[in-house]
């Protein structure tokens, strides 16, 4: 068990490195830079800023520095010199937990500060929407399967189809409109409501959770239908067990397995927040921060949040693999 966890955590390292590599590459392909403004900025100022943030160095490998130091300080220092590049320095700092300064703040705020400040909001939002997705989706799916092809099943189908097919920016805007026109309670302008739990989280959380809820509903339904047909359910019935016991003891646990599978990515997806929903509802979470960072070419913020998201997804998947063992003894022992 411990060995399994250690192996999985170690396997995350190359994954995260690859993510960093690809993100950095893509970022550099995009035109523009962090200090572009609408009005012309003096080239000397830009050069100064670039120098301050190390953007004057080559992107990948610093061969000039390598040659310099090779002749002066020997091969060991030369290798360090080779990685005295934007990517090299970023990665060196990142492994030490320093994700660099945000360019937007002109270097007064670090990326990890920004994450610490915005992530709890997204986390709360995500947890509420996950709870919503599970509490509504799971029972709805079970109901649909147990009362297959009845009005309950169709009701569950309609709800999940809406959740699936209507994009969140539509449902979000509709909800926002209803809230502001009918109840006069939106949009929420006071940023302090996002500190700690408050009712304000519910509208965006429900919209955010709709898709996951729909998915869980459909998945649960098909899973329960599948388990219902299994031989061991017939065995359970042949023992004279009542419907309630057959469902609760024999069907539900077996039908949880596929639902758990999607939970890992779903948790990561919900917790890192929907970029769109956070913008629509003006939630100052990490998602809206990320969108902002892309627009302003805030390189370190883009890198930092991408790595952070990747870490969450990877951790989510490890959690899922561990929870399989709790539910399915066949996996526990192997």
């Amino acid at each position: 068990m411990i060995g399994f966890i250690i192996r999985r955590v170690l396997a995350m390292i190359p994954v995260l490195f690859l993510v960093a590599l690809i993100t950095f590459f893509l970022m550099k392909q995009a035109k523009g830079g962090p200090f572009d403004q609408e009005k012309e900025v003096a080239p000397s100022t830009i050069a100064l800023l670039n120098r301050k943030f190390g953007l004057d160095k080559p992107a990948w490998l610093n061969t000039a520095e390598f040659n310099n130091r090779m002749s002066a300080d020997g091969p060991f220092a030369a290798v360090r010199g080779l990685f005295d590049s934007q990517f090299g320095n970023y990665m060196l700092n990142a492994v030490q937990g320093d994700l660099g300064p945000t360019y937007a703040s002109k270097g007064t705020e670090t990326v990890q500060d920004k994450i610490k400040q915005t992530f709890p909001i997204s986390l709360r939002l995500g947890l509420i929407s996950l709870t919503f997705a599970l509490v509504v989706g799971f029972p709805l799916g079970i109901l649909g399967a147990l009362r297959q092809n009845t009005i309950f099943d169709y009701f569950s189908l309609i709800i999940s189809t809406i959740g699936f097919s209507v994009p969140t920016f539509v449902t979000g805007l509709v909800l926002l409109l209803v809230m502001s026109k009918v109840f006069g309670i939106a949009p929420i302008k006071d940023p302090s409501v996002w500190e700690g739990f408050s009712m304000s989280y519910f509208p965006p959380a429900i919209i955010l959770g709709l898709g996951t809820m729909a998915y869980i509903t459909r998945l649960t339904r098909s899973s329960v239908l599948e388990v219902k047909r299994q031989d061991y359910i017939r065995t359970a019935k042949a023992k004279g067990l009542g419907d309630r016991v057959v469902i609760l003891r024999h069907i539900l646990r077996n039908s949880l397995i596929p639902v758990i599978t999607i939970l890992g990515p779903a948790v990561a997806g919900l917790v890192t927040g929907s970029f769109i929903i956070e913008s629509v509802f003006r939630v100052p979470g990490i998602g809206s921060e990320f969108i902002g960072a892309i627009g302003s070419r805030d390189y370190s913020m883009i890198m930092g949040s991408t790595l952070f998201f990747s870490l969450l997804v990877a951790l989510g998947n490890i959690m899922v693999d561990l929870s399989y063992g709790l539910i399915d003894p066949r996996i526990r022992n192997s």
């Binding site: 299994q230 031989d231 061991y232 017939r234 065995t235 359970a236 019935k237 042949a238 023992k239 004279g240 067990l241 009542g242 016991v245 003891r249 024999h250 646990r253 077996n254 539910i327 399915d328 003894p329 066949r330 022992n333």
Partner: protein, 357 residues
């Protein structure tokens, strides 16, 4: 007068509604099982033997299936009229069932102990502790070593044969009066099959439980059962004591089944398979359902469905004619001779044609 039978199935009709129409899976099936008796039900896939047994437990998936007629008298009560809750008191308690595939018939996420004790607690009102002790006794009865430890294992930690032993132990948990074993050895390899059959034979004698043994393997029937019914296309086509059936089969289908299993008594004969496929139960016909595959087929077979009739003491068969096994060889040879004659004639024709040109 003899004691009333434990189970009496009278004119049972089971139908399944499908997109193509109503399938008559079981047609007018009647038979009875006495206390302590072992009855074999033999037939190929789709002959209605499993549907019959599931009907007795009232476990036919409904919809699409339904018991369309007939009676299932168990100890005098008609199970067809029982409510679902009355049925639950019977299932697993007075009638229990063992299924074909032990690999899939146990819940993979529950410990064996839990699966064994749940019916004990339900039907016998045992506490968890009492049920556990009874489960330990049952497991050692079916020959599972270290039963107190094995109770805490999951199904995947048992081999196929061991799982079937667990299934049998579960089936016998509440001392049922009737045990229905639906092809309990089909999914097992041959040496394990023999062990399981031996176990069932021993337990049958120890507990005195009546058994309905469903199989497509006549070899298994020979060693296990007192009486046999043969099913074909949802009907009973022959019924006799096991000895009588093997010595004196009177329905062409039974004869075909017997001729398609190898004999171990030294007499070397060619194995003759039954040609063709079982009939489509959707069609409604007046002919004998076996006619298209029958070696003995006569004109009358195509216009009349035979019903069961007495052919010997305590022996019924659904065939219009008095036939026996020895005739088959004769009939088969006659058939071959006829085919040969047709071929010869054709060949002569060709030769004559060639000579003429």
């Amino acid at each position: 007068m003899a004691e009333a039978p434990l189970l009496e199935v009278k004119n049972l009709q089971v139908q399944f509604k499908t997109a193509d129409g109503v399938v008559n899976a079981v047609n007018n099936v009647s038979f009875s099982v006495n206390r302590g008796e072992t009855l074999g039900i033999v037939g190929e896939s789709g002959s209605g033997k499993s549907v019959t047994s599931l009907s007795i437990m009232r476990l036919i998936p409904s919809p699409p299936g339904k018991i369309a007629g007939g009676q299932i008298l168990f100890d005098g009560d008609n199970l067809v009229d029982f409510s679902e809750s009355e049925m639950r008191k019977i299932r697993g308690n007075r009638i229990s069932m063992i299924f074909q595939d032990p690999m899939t018939s146990l819940n993979p996420v529950l410990r064996i102990g839990k699966q064994m004790t749940e019916s004990l607690q339900l039907h016998m009102g045992m506490t968890a502790k009492q049920a556990r002790n009874r489960a330990i006794d049952l497991l050692s009865m079916v020959g599972i070593p270290a039963p107190d430890k094995r109770l805490d294992d999951f199904p995947h930690q048992f081999s196929g044969g061991m799982r079937q032993r667990v299934m049998i132990a579960m089936g016998l948990a509440c001392n049922p009066e009737l045990l229905i074993a639906d092809e309990p050895t089909t999914a097992l390899d041959v040496t394990i099959q023999a062990q399981i059959l031996e176990l069932l034979n021993r337990l049958k004698n120890e507990t005195g439980t009546a058994i309905i043994f469903i199989t497509h393997d006549l070899g298994v029937v020979a060693g296990m059962t007192d009486r046999v019914i043969v099913m074909y296309a949802g009907r009973v086509v022959e019924q006799a004591s096991t000895n009588e059936l093997f010595r004196n089969p009177r329905m062409p289908y039974t004869i075909g089944l017997l001729d398609s299993i190898p004999r171990l008594d030294g007499i070397q004969t060619r194995l003759t398979p039954i040609p063709g496929l079982p009939p489509d139960l959707l069609e409604k016909t007046n002919r004998c359902p076996f006619a298209p595959r029958c070696d003995f087929v006569q004109e009358q077979c195509w216009i009349e469905t035979p019903s069961l009739r007495q052919v010997a003491p305590d022996h019924t068969a659904a065939c219009l004619f008095d036939i026996d096994r020895d005739q088959r060889q004769v009939m088969a040879e006659k058939k071959i001779a006829e085919e040969q004659a047709v071929l010869d004639a054709a060949l002569e024709d060709v030769l004559a044609h060639e000579q003429a040109s």
